[in-house]
Symmetry: C2
Subunit: 377 residues, 2 copies
């Protein structure tokens, strides 16, 4: 992957390009069932901390862009919850995808939203549901990424230095050093790789040349628009009514409803980043956790002497290393449990060994088929 000749375009006609943040809030709400549901996915829950992860993300990006320049893209099922979670945002900055069309569509829509406000705008695309405690370094890293994206025609990805040979993430192979912004070094990218096998992941992590692709990107409207036009022309074409609506101040929802079902369902990694040549990577310096499922939650809560992490009214007799959450005033009483997850909510209780946490999806499928079972989804 070679970088094209670099031309600085951050300032044109004396006016600075504005910064924007677009938060993608579209999770399905399966992996944290029964706390999460279709209408109340992970980012609308205080899985870690006391406020929903989306609210934490909004607060964390505040130093990067003003509220009026912050968008949230979400799904129809979650709109109500997202609006309730983001009272500080202008209502028109919460944009609803009528149907899910994966991340390429969301990124292309984000590009049009920012373009309508500032055709030279620089924006970050960030997931709503990651847990990051070190806000200072987070902001510093992203500011460097914004500076790079403003100064050069590059697609900046943040790379997370891996802490384990996870098979749950895509990886980015680091190339040679490119430039530094705000003392943060950025690297050329050799290649993007999809979620690897455990063996391959081990090789990646030991090599020191790979970082996790966490789906955090920063780029300018002109750079990403031109890359999309080159690598995903059908997507750009299909979205042209949306662009026209935004430029002409037409009502967006009706147009999205018409256009969206026709969009290709494809990830931004596959549609754009794996193909584009001007991709650079900034290795993150902050702590990061995507808290992918219940077992990961324990990392962010204090445990008792026996390694039990609990919330709510819980009593444990002879048990260790469990996650025990109970909502309301309900008592969860566990005897002899080791490495279990127990989550009690008002209308459903999950009990599973941590090692079986990934089977929640199979359970929800079973529930979907069961008579009257869909009301717990």
């Amino acid at each position: 992957m070679n970088l094209r000749p670099i031309v600085s375009f951050g300032k044109i006609a004396g006016r600075m390009a504005q910064n924007f943040v677009v938060i993608i809030a579209g999770g399905k709400g399966e992996r944290f069932w029964p706390q999460s549901r279709a209408h109340r996915p992970k980012h609308l829950l205080p899985i870690v901390g006391t406020t929903p992860l989306l609210a934490q993300t909004l607060s964390r990006v505040r130093p990067l862009a003003p509220v009026k320049n912050t968008f949230v893209i979400t799904s129809a099922a979650q709109e109500k919850g997202v609006r309730a979670c983001c009272p500080q945002l202008p209502p028109e900055n919460i944009v609803v995808e009528p149907v899910g069309r994966d991340t390429a569509a969301a990124v292309a829509l984000a590009t049009l939203l920012v373009e309508a406000r500032d055709p030279r705008g620089v924006f970050a695309v960030l997931p709503a549901d990651h847990v990051i405690h070190d806000r200072k370094r987070y902001v510093a890293d992203l500011k460097a990424a914004f500076a790079a994206a403003a100064a050069d025609k590059v697609l900046v990805t943040l790379g997370i230095p891996p802490t384990e040979p996870s098979t749950g993430f895509g990886y980015i192979e680091r190339g040679s050093k490119w430039k530094a912004f705000g003392r943060k070094p950025l690297y050329r990218v050799k290649r993007f790789v999809e979620k690897p096998s455990a063996d391959v992941a081990g090789v990646y992590v030991r090599s020191g040349d790979y970082v996790w692709n966490a789906g955090m990107f920063v780029w300018s409207v002109p750079t990403v628009s031109s890359a999309l036009a080159q690598h995903a022309p059908e997507l750009v074409k299909a979205l042209s009514p949306v662009r026209a609506a935004l430029q002409g101040n037409q009502a967006l929802p009706a147009v999205l409803k018409k256009v969206y079902p026709k969009l290709p369902k494809i990830s931004v990694d596959y549609a754009l980043l794996e193909k584009a040549e001007q991709v650079v990577m900034l290795p993150s310096s902050f702590d990061w956790d995507d808290v992918g499922a219940w077992p990961a939650v324990a990392r962010h809560h204090p445990a008792d002497k026996k390694g039990n992490v609990s919330k709510g009214r819980v009593v444990v007799e002879q048990g260790s290393n469990n996650i025990l959450f109970s909502e309301g005033d309900h008592l969860v009483a566990a005897i002899g449990l080791e490495n279990f997850i127990v989550v009690h909510t008002a209308d459903a209780t999950l009990i599973a060994p941590k090692a079986k946490a990934q089977e929640i999806k199979a359970l929800l499928k079973q529930l979907e088929k069961a008579k009257d079972g869909a009301r717990w989804l």
Copy 2:
């Protein structure tokens, strides 16, 4: 143990002695927590079947004695629940022990209650919380016991032929054959033995000479009165104000409240049956289960192909041989559970491997000490 010379006294002065049943309903409600509570013990719950075990017992004894001759002895904490469960009984037939004083006191009180109605009455003392499906044989066995107790000065105990070397029951060693009533053979008793070790229980069961002592007795007022006077004179003496109150139609509760705390806390086995000489044993021919704890419940419910027994809204993904009960419309979702008990009630949920079911007592002790924990007891 030798039997005294037998004198028939079933009929005196041309009038038949009446039959009575006294049901002892005094369990603590620990082993079926969280369904059972101090005020709602096992016999007030439909642990097996659709009505409380006490109601099932009342219905089962109907062919043995009329309603007016049926008593229930219970505790203060359970009075309300017992009265609600037994609307068909005359209110004065539900007698409340102000404090628990073990079974010898309850049997002595039962004797006085029956004596006040018929000094020659024959009565059965029966636990409230056993599960017995074969009512026909149950009634036939007890009728034979009533006939024996009416005809001879004997203390009849029912012996349950053991199905396994249980360490949870006392055993009765059978002696030589004594007599038969209604084609049911009764045996002399060599000795009563307390709950044995597993090894000893194995020897007992293999020998074929031992039966379980299930706490089911039949005797006449004169016979048991005289045995109590001989072997538990202090108990008889301490209860004399109760006898006077019953004979004089004084209000019973006030007298019981004064007398009961002073009574010795001792079992009827130890106080009477192990010492008395005129004990005979009738081996039961009916099915019998004391359903001592959650794992035993599975025996009485149909299981699915994977051995899961469930009640209420339950979904199981990859799991077998579990007991899963959910009250109300709450969903219990279990993944990867093997041999577990999960019991959800409105205010508490228990999760435990079947093998740890006996640790409920330790859990409840912990709860008793916990701030505000007693409200779940």
